[in-house]
């Protein structure tokens, strides 16, 4: 129960940071995707179900605030949470490389599908340009910020695990 509450608060804080504070730190005109980092972290540390639902909530929140059509972000983030949940099988407390790789891959896939849904269908065919101008910087920036935030989220996760173990015993 506490876990669900904490995750919801994390989602809200990440969303607020992403929409207000981070735009003033933008590099190469892109903003890092904190919600993506959160979804991947939850999925990687806790498995398919939590990952999937965190993704769904994040996506719907984005849909309701910045999206035009409700549901597109929801689907994208949910699938990302779901597939990252499989990586939970190779979860290791000490490893910081795998989550970062996961974040990079997820962000790239997310950008690609977003491009397909919103730009390709309107007849904007210059994939190379979009890859160079938005996808690449976004992936790099998100991973850089991810180093810091993954550690933070992971620490919160470990703290909660300790807490629930203490209550259990």
């Amino acid at each position: 129960m506490i876990r669900v509450l904490v995750t919801l608060i994390q989602i809200l804080i990440c969303f607020l940071l992403q929409s207000t504070v981070f735009p003033s730190f933008e590099l190469a005109n892109v903003v890092p995707d904190l919600l993506m980092i959160l979804v991947v972290t939850v999925a990687y540390t806790r498995g398919i179900f939590p990952g999937m639902f965190t993704g769904l909530v994040c996506g719907l929140l984005l849909d309701c605030t910045i999206g035009d059509v409700i549901g597109i972000y929801g689907i994208l983030y949910m699938f990302i949470g779901y597939f990252n949940g499989y990586a939970n099988k190779i979860y290791d407390k000490e490893d910081y490389t795998i989550p970062l790789l996961l974040i990079a891959a997820s962000e790239f896939i997310y950008c690609f599908f977003y491009y397909v849904a919103e730009f390709l269908l309107r007849g904007r065919l210059k994939l190379g340009f979009y890859a160079y101008r938005i996808m690449l910087p976004r992936v790099i920036y998100t991973v850089l910020v991810g180093i810091l935030f993954y550690k933070l989220f992971h620490m919160i996760h470990l703290g909660l695990t300790k807490l629930s173990n203490k209550e259990g015993s």
Binding site: G47, T65, I70, K93
Partner: protein, 286 residues
């Protein structure tokens, strides 16, 4: 360490399918009936907006303080320069005031109304930018409560910024004219030739917009002002958009096209003005 997933064994696959179907239904609904889900959006917006506002106020307070410390020396230099500028401007101003009286007199003589300058305006603050880098949409802190409606024109300084696309209780969303999906019908002030002003993501970095469909007969020179035209059914007539340059004949040899430098600095938008007059809708007779 790893927690057991629920005791009742539900396959993740099935939950995923279920949620996907729900999302697809939502997408369909919001495509088909645009207004159906807007209460949900408004509800979420009115929860989130005050928080964003608070964070922004706090952030701008801190960055203001930091800027004050950093810019002290620059400001002193600038102050000197400005003082000397004021002197020359004072002289200029007195000449201009005389001209204005003369102009007023002449206007009255010709009974020319001030056609464009007198639209009623409301000021608003930009509180959040779309965190998705693909678009140029931002949120302002005025909404339906302050009388904002969809399709109202948004200005900053003396140039066109964009148009209100969505209104919540206490916030509204503005699509800027440099947005990839934006499309404005423009007109050259000097020659009255019309053109299409289209935002383009690819040109965004250079801070310019594309203008297209200029008549072959139009004689356009660099630096001509482009204003919103009488053709558009959303934008009020005569608002400055920017200055044209590099006009060339299209490869199709049917029209000319070129680039436009916007009159507004989109990088540093903080406060905008919303014109509360809507262009009259064309309606069929009963």
């Amino acid at each position: 360490m790893r927690r057991k997933t629920p005791k009742i064994s539900i396959q993740p696959k099935h939950v995923l399918t279920f949620c996907t179907v729900i999302c697809l239904i939502l997408i369909f609904l919001s495509f088909r009936y645009e207004t159906l889900l807007s209460p949900v959006k408004t509800a979420v917006g009115s929860i989130v907006t005050p928080m964003q506002k608070g964070i922004n106020t706090f952030g701008s307070y801190i960055s203001d303080k930091l800027d004050t410390l950093a810019n002290m020396r620059d400001l002193i230099d600038e102050n000197e320069k400005l003082k000397s500028q004021i002197e020359s401007l004072k002289v200029e101003n007195s000449i201009l005031i005389q001209d204005r009286y003369e102009l007023d007199g002449l206007r009255r003589l010709y009974e020319v109304d001030q056609k464009y300058a007198d639209y009623p305006k409301v000021a608003a603050r930009v509180i959040s930018r779309d965190s998705n880098s693909f678009y140029n949409v931002f949120t302002i802190d005025k909404g339906a409560e302050d009388g904002i409606k969809v399709d109202m024109n948004v200005l900053a300084g003396n140039g066109l910024v964009g148009i209100v696309t969505e209104v919540g209780k206490n916030y509204s969303k503005v699509r800027s004219i440099i947005d990839d999906a934006s499309y404005v019908s423009g007109m050259f002030l000097k020659t009255s030739d019309t053109c299409d002003v289209k935002g383009d993501l690819q040109l965004l970095d250079e801070g310019v917009i594309r203008i297209e469909a200029i008549s072959m007969n139009a004689d356009i020179k660099d630096g001509y002002e482009v204003v919103t035209s009488h053709i558009s059914n959303k934008y009020l007539q005569g608002i400055l958009i920017g200055y044209a340059y590099d006009i060339e004949v299209d490869s199709s040899n049917l029209a000319k096209s070129g680039y436009l430098r916007p009159a507004v600095d989109f990088e540093h938008l903080e406060e905008v003005l919303i014109i509360t007059t809507l262009k009259e809708k064309l309606e069929k007779a009963e």
